[in-house]
């Protein structure tokens, strides 16, 4: 239960204060505040009567909304830090209806009419660790199917996933790579579902039915350790090249099809603390790439705005080429060079790939219960893959 409820300004003033039970001694809240820093700065109206004697009476945002009578004060989206996993759609890509996602729950078209639309985002955060020889040591996908509904009247929705989707790995040990590599079937280790999801037909045809509450919520979270094809192959090499000089070779191969582009790629590599300078040598014709040596944190940084899989059309297949970048670091060797690999690295990579998902989990269809013949809301199904921990060891 909740005894007291505070919404505070950044300075610590009470914007909203409620005492539900009148049992907390005066001033005890102050002790708490003294130890906490505040970041909230929202205009809040009357705390809705969702608590009675400290017991929440509902946890549904839908019901909560009905308690709010004031007109929402729109906050400039640019000022707000991105929230939630769908925030990645806000990174300026023209290909997605990115602006729609940042809209307030009360979505209105310029004409003042509500626009009927629903977004389903399949967001995957992938973790891959490559060994020094380029093998995959561990790989994992943490995925979420995020839904954002602006549909009036909360119609029922059916969301169909891959028919061959299976849940729970049969093998005794996880990370067993023998099973079904690239064989098409998607095997999730485990998943969980939002309250509103009905799983009645899930076992038969992998369909989720739900009546979505307004606003954004995760329909399903899933985890997969089945082997998958990583979007980038990373190999890194550090070698001595003279008495006080070493050469680092970073090779990143984009391993995805031509209609997909990865953006905002950052590659970082810590180098030995005695590194003095670094100079770089980019592949000829590289555009939109920057390299830097961060002296403070002893890190090499390589930023790429975009990475398109280089495609060469031959008679019957599309093949991917490598993008290779060479950076030469100069540094002063103080002790023996045998420890180079232990003091540098690992290489860490960050990226976002819209319209790509590593797990091959698909939304087969998104069905909305029709209210009338003319009712045809906008549906957006979007995929995005993001690096969580994408590491190549030296």
């Amino acid at each position: 239960m909740i005894s007291q409820f505070f919404v505070l300004s950044q300075r610590g003033d009470h914007i909203v204060f409620r005492d539900y039970r009148g049992e907390v001694p005066k001033g005890s809240a102050e002790i708490f505040f003294r130890k906490v820093k505040f970041w909230n700065d929202d205009e809040a109206e009357e705390a809705p009567p969702v608590f009675d004697f400290g017991y929440p009476q509902t946890t549904s945002t839908e019901v909560l909304k009905s308690y709010i009578f004031n007109e929402p004060i729109m906050v400039d989206a640019g000022r707000l830090p991105p929230l939630g996993p769908a925030a990645m759609f806000m990174q300026g890509t023209k290909r997605m209806p990115g602006t729609a996602v940042t809209k307030s729950v009360v979505a209105t078209e310029p004409g003042g009419k509500k626009r009927e639309e629903i977004f389903v985002d399949i967001i995957e955060r992938i973790s891959v660790t490559f060994s020094s020889s380029g093998y995959i040591l561990t790989s994992e996908i943490d995925g979420t199917i995020q839904m954002k509904s602006y549909l009036s009247g909360n119609p029922e929705i059916r969301l169909a996933l891959n028919e061959d989707l299976s849940i729970g790995r049969t093998g005794s040990s996880t990370f067993d790579y023998r099973s079904s590599s690239g064989g098409g079937t998607v095997v999730l280790d485990d998943c969980n579902f939002h309250e509103s999801v009905h799983l009645d037909s899930f076992d038969i045809d992998r369909t989720l039915s739900l009546i979505p509450p307004d606003g954004e919520f995760p329909v399903m979270n899933y985890r997969m350790t089945q082997e998958f094809k990583p979007p980038f192959r990373v190999t890194a090499l550090i070698e001595e090249a003279g008495p006080s000089r070493a050469e680092v070779l970073l090779k990143i191969r984009a391993d995805f099809s031509a209609n997909v582009t990865a953006n905002t790629i950052t590659v970082q590599m810590p180098v030995p603390s005695y590194t003095m300078r670094a100079s770089f040598e980019l592949e000829a014709g590289a555009v939109g790439q920057t390299t830097d040596f961060k002296e403070g944190s002893r890190r090499l940084e390589w930023n790429l705005k975009k990475a398109i899989a280089f495609t060469v059309l031959t008679y019957f297949f599309i093949s991917q080429l490598q993008r290779i970048l060479l950076c030469n670091i100069f540094y002063v060797l103080l002790w023996n060079a045998g420890n180079l690999t232990k003091e540098a690295g690992p290489v860490n990579m960050n990226f976002t790939i819209p319209m790509y998902n590593a797990s091959k989990l698909q939304v087969r269809y998104l069905q909305i219960a029709k209210k009338s013949k003319t009712y045809n809301p906008y549906r957006w199904v979007r995929y995005v893959t993001q690096a969580n921990s994408y590491v190549a060891r030296l």
């Binding site: 003033d13 009470h14 909203v16 204060f17 005492d19 039970r21 009148g22 049992e23 005066k26 001033g27 809240a29 102050e30 009357e46 705390a47 009675d52 004697f53 017991y55 929440p56 009476q57 509902t58 946890t59 549904s60 009578f69 955060r125 973790s127 660790t129 561990t138 994992e140 943490d142 979420t144 040990s173 996880t174 990370f175 280790d189 485990d190 998943c191 969980n192 579902f193 939002h194 309250e195 799983l199 995760p218 399903m220 979270n221 985890r223 350790t225 944190s297 002893r298 002790w335 045998g338 420890n339 232990k342 003091e343 690295g345 690992p346 860490n348 969580n388 921990s389 590491v391 060891r393």
Partner: protein, 843 residues
């Protein structure tokens, strides 16, 4: 209820209206509106009320307008009513007399046609918190519980709990708990049921605490399985919060048979797939607690909950992951075996915050076993080069802990030694501490470790822990490390620059140890050390130096036994947490205790450590007068060494702050007894440059002073009979055995002339024999006659050989008396012994 921010502070901010004048203004306006029948009066009231409420929520004291607000409360506008209720609820307690005025209109509203107004009025009525108005509460509550609208019943249920808090007797006299229970078991609305449960739990808990008969009565409610099954069958209807409450209740259920357990578990199975972490954790708690008595099912539960927990770890924010991970950590610590195949799930990810990484490292350490040690240690070694230094340190410690608990020690020792080659100061320091611990547990690795450790320059180690560990090894293995006395001497020269008392204490002990192993080389350093130690400003260092000095003065052989007793390998290091603690936290699964356990355990360990000190204290205090008893001494000292090192170990693992004080406690306890029995003699020490020489005269070493040790140990002969390279025998056992065993062989043999000459330094013979795996337990004598007692142990068995060897350097003859546990091997041992002896001095 009181606004906690003073009005004055408020008025300073430009956005807020200044409190006082605002309230006066509002009062004025309310008064005007009170009797107004103007057509727009309702709208005006609404506006003024809005301003009052916004002042109130901003923390301005608007209680002065109470009377005016009540006057305006007669309105039919729902919004105005709602605001009025809110205001009245907030201020009634401060104005009980005025609150009476509100009763009338609230009671009337409780009978309104609109269920919303009925509900709101009832809620406000119950929220007045004015004791003398209780009589007006009971009737509306009783009717409220039977109201056709679920909304009103919902409010009435919580209202009953509110009433109980104002006046328990009023609540019980009206028999509200019984009505609540009936409602809970039958109401079609889930939220009404949930509120009944909340209210009943509050009432029952407080009642049970009040009287024993009530407690027994209430116990009966909790035992009834009907309660649990009614609630659990409807669990999907409840809000997430209420689900958690029901699940928490279910975890206390005492099933009458196993079928009930399985029923519940089947019922709740799908809750494990819930996206809300709180629901999943609450379900897990039910599963774990229900199956406590069924070992195999309990294990299956662990298997079942692994995947949902790991999904939760991956799905949420780092903060949510952390709290789930803490629960996982608790489970891993309880049953590491069950998680051993999932070790890869606990690998650190680049993006993990350090607090998550730290937990994962602990879990990796716990689940390491034969099958996964190699992979885990390989992974941990990768982290050792991590840019995040605290995590790199943790990883190294984790490797060490795995080595201490695990099987594949050989490979791990190699890895640890590779760390030393990395030449990062913190890596070296952490590794040294671990190598020290390893050697205490596995003395057989000393050769490999010492070879590497010997190459480390003490100048490169800055951290006290690492330095202390290195010094400990220098002292302990000074016979194997060629340079040990000189390195120690160098360290002693820089005594004043050594800031850490812990290092200085270790240095004292190490020099003492080294002295007994290689006296001529260390004697000078020992004098300097003791002098420096006695003049040290740190009390513990001072005391220990004085203690050593007097011990040497009293009897060097006793001192040797105190400082260099035969070491027994430490089999178990002090456990991190008592199992009792773990159980207690497990009982509080899915509560704040689980994550906070990591922060509070330091406090919990505090008293435990203290109690350890107390036991030492009693040991030390038992015989303050009995300083003469050497046997006692040794006991004390064994205690002392053990406890100090154990504590030090704790300190290394947990906190750096507290270790120094606890570490020194035992030596504090012993030195006062010495101080009282002998007058201090610092002044003498200060003036004599080599203070130990006089005290050593009765040890028969005077004549050896100044002799350099140029002889290198002889190469080892290929032994016919293989001996244990590290036999352990303490002097007491030796003496007993010598008394018990019959003489197996008595022989006379001759020494080479070079050998006889080399015997000018008896220590060199002792070292030579040690090279042949024959240990000396005691030696003595004056030229030309020396007497040695040796012992050796047959490799692989416990059979010992004991030797008395009297050597006359003038005639270069030796008389041997051999006693053996296994008489048949005595002949072979004798040959071995003689061949070893004959090679003495030849190289």
């Amino acid at each position: 209820m009181a606004p906690t921010v003073p009005t004055a502070a408020k008025s300073a901010s430009p956005s807020q209206p200044s409190g006082k004048s605002e309230v006066a203004d509002l009062k004025q306006q309310l008064r005007q509106l009170a009797g107004s029948r103007a057509p727009d009066a309702d709208d005006q009231r609404r506006d003024v009320f809005k301003r009052v409420i916004s002042c109130m929520t901003a923390g301005i004291d608007v209680s002065a307008a109470f009377g005016e607000m009540v006057m305006c409360s007669a309105t039919s506008d729902v919004v105005t009513k709602k605001m009025c209720y809110l205001y009245v609820g907030a201020h009634a307690r401060a104005h009980p007399d005025l609150a009476l005025l509100t009763i009338n209109f609230l009671q009337r509203d409780c009978r309104d046609q609109d269920p919303t107004i009925r509900g709101l009025a009832l809620r406000s009525l119950c929220s007045l918190r004015v004791p003398n108005l209780v009589e007006y509460l009971v009737t509306p509550l009783t009717t409220g519980l039977k109201d056709p609208s679920a909304y009103v019943r919902m409010i009435a249920a919580v209202g009953a709990a509110k009433l109980y808090h104002i006046s328990a007797t009023a609540c019980l006299d009206a028999d509200l708990p019984a009505s609540l229970k009936a409602l809970m078991l039958s109401d079609p609305d889930a939220q009404v049921v949930a509120n009944c449960l909340h209210a009943l739990q509050e009432i029952w808990t407080l009642e049970a605490a009040n009287s024993e008969s009530a407690a027994r009565e209430i116990e009966r409610h909790y035992i009834a399985s009907q309660l649990y099954f009614t609630l659990l069958n409807r669990i999907k209807e409840f809000s997430e919060w209420a689900q958690c409450t029901v699940l928490e209740l279910a975890s206390k259920f005492l099933p009458s048979d196993n079928n009930e357990i399985f029923d519940i578990m089947n019922l709740l199975e799908d809750r494990l797939q819930h996206a809300n972490g709180a629901v999943v954790l609450a379900t897990i708690k039910v599963f774990l607690h229900l199956t406590m008595s069924m070992t195999d099912v309990h294990q299956q539960v662990y298997e079942r909950i692994k995947a949902p927990l790991l999904t939760l770890v991956g799905a949420g924010s780092p903060e949510q992951s952390y709290s789930v991970l803490c629960h996982l950590h608790l489970l891993v610590m309880r049953a590491p075996m069950l998680f051993s195949s999932d070790y890869k799930s606990f690998y650190c990810q680049f993006s993990d915050p350090s607090y998550v990484k730290k937990l994962k490292l602990e879990m990796l350490t716990a689940i390491a076993n034969e099958s996964n040690t190699y992979e885990i240690v390989t992974e941990l070694c990768e982290y050792a080069g991590n840019v995040d230094v605290p995590i790199a340190r943790e990883s190294i410690r984790a490797v060490g802990k795995i080595a201490l608990q695990q099987y594949d020690v050989n490979a791990i020792v190699d890895r640890l030694l590779q760390f030393l080659e990395m030449d990062k100061d913190y890596v070296t320091a952490e590794t040294l501490v671990l190598v020290k611990d390893l050697l205490r547990k596995y003395p057989q690795w000393s050769h490999d470790c010492i070879a590497v450790v010997g190459n480390i320059s003490s100048k490169n180690i800055q951290e006290p822990k690492g330095k202390a560990a290195l010094i400990w090894m220098l002292g302990e293995y000074s016979q194997d490390m060629h340079d040990a006395p000189y390195i120690l001497e160098g360290l002693v020269e820089n005594w004043d620059e050594e800031h850490s008392p812990e290092v200085r204490l270790h240095l004292l002990t190490a020099v003492m140890k080294c002295f007994f192993k290689r006296p001529p080389e260390t004697q000078k350093a020992l004098g300097a050390t003791l002098a420096a130690g006695i003049s040290d400003t740190h009390q513990d260092v001072h005391d220990r130096a004085l203690f050593y000095y007097r011990l040497l003065q009293y009897d060097p052989s006793v001192a040797e036994r105190v400082v260099n007793p035969p070491k027994q390998a430490v089999s178990v290091f002090a456990d991190m947490q008592s199992s009792e603690m773990k159980d207690r936290i497990f009982d509080e699964f899915n509560s704040l205790s689980v994550p906070s356990y990591l922060f509070t355990d330091k406090d919990h360990r505090g008293p435990f450590e203290y109690s350890e000190d107390l036991t030492n204290l009693t040991v030390g205090a038992e015989d303050p007068e009995n300083v003469i008893s050497a046997q006692r001494y040794q006991e004390n000292d064994n205690d002392l060494l053990l406890s100090t090192s154990d504590k030090e170990d704790n300190g290394t693992r947990v906190s750096n702050g507290s270790s120094t004080s606890s570490y020194n406690a035992p030596s504090d306890l012993i030195s006062p007894s010495l101080l009282s029995s002998q007058p201090p003699a610092e002044s003498a020490l200060m003036t004599t440059g080599v203070p130990t020489s006089s005290s050593l005269s009765n040890f028969g070493l005077d004549d050896l002073l100044g002799l350099g040790v140029t002889e290198a140990p002889a190469p080892r002969p290929p032994p016919a009979l293989t001996l244990n390279s590290k036999p352990v025998l303490d002097p007491g056992t030796f003496q007993r055995k010598w008394g018990q065993l019959a003489l197996s062989l008595s022989q006379e043999c001759s020494l080479s002339p070079q050998g006889a000459a080399a015997l000018m330094n008896p220590q060199s013979l002792i070292r030579h024999m040690q090279g042949n795996y024959i240990q000396c337990i005691a030696s003595g004598g004056q030229p030309p006659n020396y007497k040695f007692f040796f012992y050796a142990q047959k490799d692989g068995v416990t059979a010992f050989f004991l030797v008395e060897c009297i050597i006359n350097t003038a005639s270069a003859k030796a008389q041997l008396k051999i006693k053996a546990d296994d008489g048949t091997a005595a002949e072979a041992f004798s040959t071995l012994f003689q061949s070893a002896l004959s090679k003495f001095g030849l190289s």
